[in-house]
Symmetry: C2
């Protein structure tokens, strides 16, 4: 079974890094309640919104993002049993490509470079399962979509949902 796994907000807690970064930079910022059901950049005024989006285009920003709970352990178990690929839509931010690669190498050293995909549109990806936080990536997906819960997708109801890596473990292992 081939399982494709997204990175941002599925393995890497990128939104939380951006939230912390914003708070540190400005001394204020959205609370966790403020970002319920939306993207971080939608929870601030337009002026700050562009700033938040720009973080992700900066070289280095995604290199030291914290991990989501339990993802290393569960992905390792999945990797041993299934054909796991990491599939990240990184191409919009070309300066993030190296950051993402070396972040994976650091935190998931067991994942071969053969199993890493950086793309734009995920419609070209062929897998049995796709674990992703963005419903838009399921639109053309022919396998079983698993929506990984993130603050911005809390209002999405169209897809089977997993709330944590422990839940993924119970479901697939």
């Amino acid at each position: 079974m081939r399982i494709a796994i997204d990175m941002d907000d599925v393995l890497a807690n990128s939104a939380m890094k951006a939230l912390d970064f914003f708070h540190k930079e400005h001394g204020f910022g959205p609370s966790h309640e403020d970002i319920h059901g939306k993207d971080l950049h939608e929870a601030v005024s337009p002026e700050y919104s562009a700033k938040i989006v720009s973080y992700f285009f900066q070289k280095g920003f995604l290199r030291d993002v914290p991990l989501l709970p339990d993802c290393q352990e569960v992905v390792k178990k999945l990797y041993e049993k299934h054909e796991v690929f990491i599939v990240s839509a990184a191409m919009e931010m070309p300066y993030s490509l190296e950051d993402k690669f070396f972040w994976l190498e650091e935190h998931f050293p067991f994942i071969s470079w053969k199993r890493i995909v950086f793309c734009g549109d995920k419609k070209i990806i062929h897998a049995d399962i796709l674990i992703d936080d963005r419903a838009r990536n399921f639109e053309f997906f022919t396998g079983r979509p698993l929506l990984f819960t993130a603050h911005h997708n809390l209002k999405e109801t169209r897809y089977e949902r997993v709330n944590s890596w422990k839940e993924v473990e119970r479901l697939l292992l």
Copy 2:
């Protein structure tokens, strides 16, 4: 129709850059005849072989590779008519990721970042046609493979072959 197109030795004349680079560095090197039916690094002694392989791991090496004849013009026509993706197995050489992205941006500015894929194993790619110089990438491919002629694949007989971008144009446009 979705057409996936490889980069090295299909769009980018990477082997010729490496051959020229070797000659400039050493004052000698394989001739075009020497590399008939084999990879460049197979046409030199083991000592030099490792050196040639290492070129591709150096940051900057793939940034200024020359283009294969007619590829810009024909890919543009294909892009206008079909769903073209560029699919490069770049992940083994993480320092080539930026080089490859900005090389594409320079020479194929009409290609959206959404249509670029850098991967390891191409078995995860779902397309109707794959134009590639490496027969190994066709092993799990379910669409129509088109083997783009390169010095190293001249002895390959299992796949439909295209010898130039002009031939691709006649075949697909």
